[in-house]
Amino acid sequence: MAVGKVTFTKAEREKLAEVLWLLNWISVVTGAILFGLGLFLKIEIQKWQEVMSDQGILYVPHMLISTGLAACCINFLGGKICLDCADTNKFLRWKLVMMPYVVCTFFFTSCVLAGALMCYSIRSQLEESLFLGLRNAMRYYKDTDTPGRCYLKRTLDLLQIQFHCCGNTGYRDWFQVQWISNRYLDMTSSAVVDRLRNNVEGKYLMDGVPFSCCSTFSPRPCIQQQVSNSSAHFNYDQQSQQLNLWRRGCRQTLLDHYTGIMQSIGLTVLLIWLFELLVLTGVRYLQTAMENVLRLGDPESESDGWILENSLAETARSNFNIIKNLGKCYQIDDDPNINVPTAAAEQEVLSQQVQIPVTS
């Protein structure tokens, strides 16, 4: 009992081949779109790679790029095959390639689906990576003289200016980190020495933030030092405090930014996946219809096309048996000569020898 059986006349087969040729060429274009989306995502991630602690998120754009390229190649080949399938004679050329091609396309289509699902599932890993990356960036903000970390200050400043955010979760994160290098601290000054002695680890901590945390929407000049001490500044009321610095944390901002991009990309990839599935189904019908035509022998006759020849359970069972029997060529358990006592064998041989002269 075939799954999804449809009968095709000759005209319908030719029409199907033409339509599939066109759809395959459209798929080449969508494959190029997929490639472009992967490239775009890669560039966006690499812009702020320094504030991410692990590069695991790069799997997503790499997956999209490779499936995009594969889509272009597979659908290009599919276009050529479908064009030839309109004619029974030309189909013979491709007869042996068709089944592997359909299987390959099936696996490739599942890769596209995997890529789309990855776009949605990478969020928690990204959050973890941003949390650690931003924490390290803030810690090494002051190390502009250490090779390998000398650009972290600039990166973090530009990030806070561009995304209108401050710190990891909020601006208070800067209070827990020494962001002024010892090179610029006057160790002879009593104020500095007091502050260093106050701290257990000898770090110079202060309730101040870098200039990049300053909000452009504040009506008053930015207050960076003694941010939490409202009596240190004139007319520093609650509203001034609210507007003075950026309130959002950079982790949340970057997470929202990348999640937004990946959700739109994921949606586009899902639509492309549905389209590829449609093309795959069409190619499968065309393949089975053409094979049945050859089996019937008459190119003008009607033929059946299907998705699976037998029901799903039977196909699974037969495939499983094939895989099981693949490993059996070199097994010797079925050899009848093993573990049989030699005396009985000799007797058999003797009795046969006695019998033979009688019958000849």
Binding site: D145, K153, P221, F234
Partner: protein, 314 residues
Amino acid sequence: MLLKINFTQQRRVRLAQGLWLMSWLAVMCGAFIFCLGVYLKTELLRRNEVMENTEIHMVPNILMMVGLASIGTNWVASRVCQDSLDATRFPRWKVLLLAWFALAALLCCLLIAVVVLSYALQGRLEESLKVGLRNGIRFYKDTDVPGRCFQKETIDRLQMEFRCCGNSNFRDWFEVQWVSNRYLDFTSKDVKDRIRSNVDGRYLLDGVPFSCCNPASPRPCLQYHLTDNSAHYNYDFQSEELNLHSRGCRQALIDYYMGLMNSTGPGVLSVILRQMTVAASLRYLQAAVEGAMALGGTQRARRETSPGEGSRNH
């Protein structure tokens, strides 16, 4: 007769076809010029608040007008080509063609004028920016005055985006009171001294807003007491280069807009060339077809030639 070429029937057909294609390409060039004008205009409008007058807007306005006119004229040219091989339909275009040539010449002149203007107006742009920025810096503190309340945000965003500080350089901030009186504690001795030491009673200080800070500086930004070496540890005012943006915003904006207009220069010149080519080819086609019609119709044998001319001497 100037620049005479002979056209067979076959060549006339080829000319008409080629010209039809070229005029559609010229329509797209016209659209490109229009988009260029729109882009330039939006870029100028974005920084409208730091420009005192809008004289420089002449350049994008002319570009937009020329773009639209070019789309129209080249569309007409393509219609003329389509009708040129049909003896019944061509005569109605004869009257229009003279006007068409005049319009095409005008468009080319306007495009050349745009290129010249974009260089000539540089001085006016600089003046406009100088006054606009000076006002912006003056009204920086007036965030509670209607009509000026967005100056602070505009100037801050401008300085951060273009990596510039002040009008000519950061010292412009020393000559202006950019801290509003609302945030000055008049009971404090320091404030009173400073105000008293100034003739106009303004609170001037050797400090700059945070938007002048350079993110590429290796040390945390120093905004206040900039001329006082002893106010900061390990600081020398004369040799400190990276702390603030060194460029003035006027120079930064002029460089940006001149860069924009220079990069559009080659595009505009190629459009001029294309338009002139279309006009010349249309003139040849017109003369060839009229000559053929004068000789008695375009349905003769293939060997028939007709003179096509660049221009006619009467």
